[in-house]
Amino acid sequence: MGFLAGAAAFTRYRITEPVPDALWAEVTDRLKKHAFREIDDTADERSFGWVSFEDMLDAAWREAPPQKGAYIAFSLRLDTRRVPPAVYKKHFLLALRDEERKAQEAGRKFVSRERKKELREQVKLRLMVRTLPIPAVFEVAWNTQTGVIWLGSTTPKLRSLFEDHFTLTFNLHLEPLTPTRLALDVLGEARARELDNLEPTIFI
């Protein structure tokens, strides 16, 4: 559920520096340059990038532009391949048994530690190819008048992925609108020290 319907969950950010005027005309191109790339036909563990707000399959903004009134809206798509641990365990065991049999035939008693490591990697790669990436989409809404940006996620890992990719794309930095940040907006930077020195209140 996101910005369009149902219950929304999001984190608020603000751009920390002035946005150069020339950037507004480049928004779509920059999004395209750092757009999502499919990994269905590879063995990559994950892929992420921007897609259209309306359609997670549209990474070229064919149907609709990201500009909506005074807002820019797009989504961060993150595809992840995850081999279930039980599946991995079984297939590693199969590979190990096979290797032990071969070792015995060759007159060796053990499978070496290095060989086991190799097997682990081979099994992982083999299973990755056979596992379909799981797509996830997180909406982004950018108010161009206030410089405030909403990201449709509250999980720290996804947030940090978004922050980095946003900065890479637009060369702009984001700060989360946390209680302290919002308090400084109210008080002014001159009173930052007062805020720093606050003793926690004991209400009882």
């Binding site: 369009l4 969950a9 999001f10 209680p179 109210v186 008080l187 606050l198 009882i204």
Partner: protein, 175 residues
Amino acid sequence: MEDAYIGQAQDAALGREFLTWLWFKSEEKNGMFPGPDNLDFALYVEQRVSVQGGEGESLETATVSGRMSELREARLGLTTGKKVSRALLRLERDAEAWQVTVKAEDFSLSGFKTPKVETKPEEGDDPDALFLERIFLLEKALGFLDHVFAGFVRLRLSPQWAEECAAIRVWLAKS
């Protein structure tokens, strides 16, 4: 536990004091707060509240929920020194109502419900109308919330905070 970023502990402390104060204030004022436009809006803490106290290994959280409940167990938590770490807020202005869960430590928002928006676009409608309407409603509620927070911050750093704390103590003693 080490801070994930500089100022994390300060964020958490300020956020928890705010939500704790907000619970008190909304009961003291029967939910009525002046909005950024000086017209009143209503804000209630209801249905689900988490309170947290202690730190490190002895950090303790109690989450209490109930549709029409007075959340007595959570109030009890406050009387042992815990503070509100997460709260479900209900906001109202005229016929419009919002619901949102606010997390104290970073003010992340979840379960954010706005007044109903007509979802079936009619011919000739701006294709972005639904998006713009929803964003407008979300921003409206956040405007109320930020306004209340601004009032809290000014009070928190003023000499009147001590009086407010005394009133909170009385409120807690009655709970």
